[in-house]
Symmetry: C2
Amino acid sequence: MSYIIYGIPKEYKMNLIERVRTLCPLINPNTSRSITKKQLAYNAIKEEILNNNLPSGTFLVERELCKALDISRTPIREALHQLASEGLVEFIPNRGAFVTGLTYEDIIETYDVREVLEGLATKMFTIHATEPELDELENIYNQMEKALENGNVEELVKYDVKFHRCIIKGCRNDKLKTLIKNINDHVERITNTIKKDQARAITTATHHKNIVNAIIQKDPELAERKMREHIVDSKNYHTKRYNFTK
Amino acid sequence: MSYIIYGIPKEYKMNLIERVRTLCPLINPNTSRSITKKQLAYNAIKEEILNNNLPSGTFLVERELCKALDISRTPIREALHQLASEGLVEFIPNRGAFVTGLTYEDIIETYDVREVLEGLATKMFTIHATEPELDELENIYNQMEKALENGNVEELVKYDVKFHRCIIKGCRNDKLKTLIKNINDHVERITNTIKKDQARAITTATHHKNIVNAIIQKDPELAERKMREHIVDSKNYHTKRYNFTK
């Protein structure tokens, strides 16, 4: 892991505080009473990291987080330790907590694993999906195509996420679901860097069309292969982009 | 999960207490002072579950565990909760803690996931392994063959585990290693049921020979396929065996 930023510029700090403060009331408004302060801090900081608002190498100053979230030091520290156990935050002795770097190798590792896991999920979904499940997937795909026609890339990205979730939800393997959940934070952190790329959105929609067709044709091997090809293509896109922006 | 046993027969209880007591001094004798009581209870109970000495559905009576391990109730409870979070123990309201059932579906789910993960690990190992790593793998394979010649199945099983670990260790993907670690308890629990099957040992050795040959030939796709075939074959063996002993 390399550190890109060793501190937050003053104007950025203010942005962070404002953003986190804005975010707080949004987190599970219906259950906010039962959420612990640690959970609240955890959710808020994680959301900021996954959305790349706190980029790799950002120094997470405890007293700033306390102020922004109006939470005392202990729950903030507990939240940071939980995020560290998930690989999103790293503690450096005598320095403090930093957002971990998202490296070239992270992208390769995450996508290599994602390829085989989601490939398997797609195969199993094709074998076992019921009519309502197939309808749900087709419906999501149609919404995605509509978003593409309207040139609404942010909307399309939302349906992209839903498409993958729908397949995973119906894969009939709880262990597989848990493992995919374990890498999904990293996937989200990577994919959230491309929310406004129109060309990529078109490619994604084409791939999804191939996947959905193979599933409807009830061809598990083809569906698996199409999903794997889609994820390999995403890996190549993200690694190229990483090299370009570095 | 279904429950096969709702209590432990008296003579079995005594066996359990003896076994756990015998096990205690064996756990990290050099570091026993730094091990917490919770960790000690966790290790002891987990070892018994993975080795199938506490079979599916066994009622884990807290006071018996306290007596057997000479540990008070709180750390025992904490250990049971940790095991519950890992899917090895289940709490039933108003009844207590039980060893989770190892179902037919558990075998299928675990081996389907294992197939794609270890397949990928084998492919990556074949691509990246250094000469010393290849030597280590060949050495383990040779020891396994020697154990087979001597008809020592328990020894062979040990080298079987080492063979898989050696490949995983050298796969160059930390996220993949973590995911494999997450399912390994379940794999161990399933494979530990066959420690004395001579015919299965011969099959395993043959499969390993095919895998090691493909790795030495530097053929990543073939190595991956051979590992996947080996794991599918193990899945079929365990599911057949499950139906037979049910």
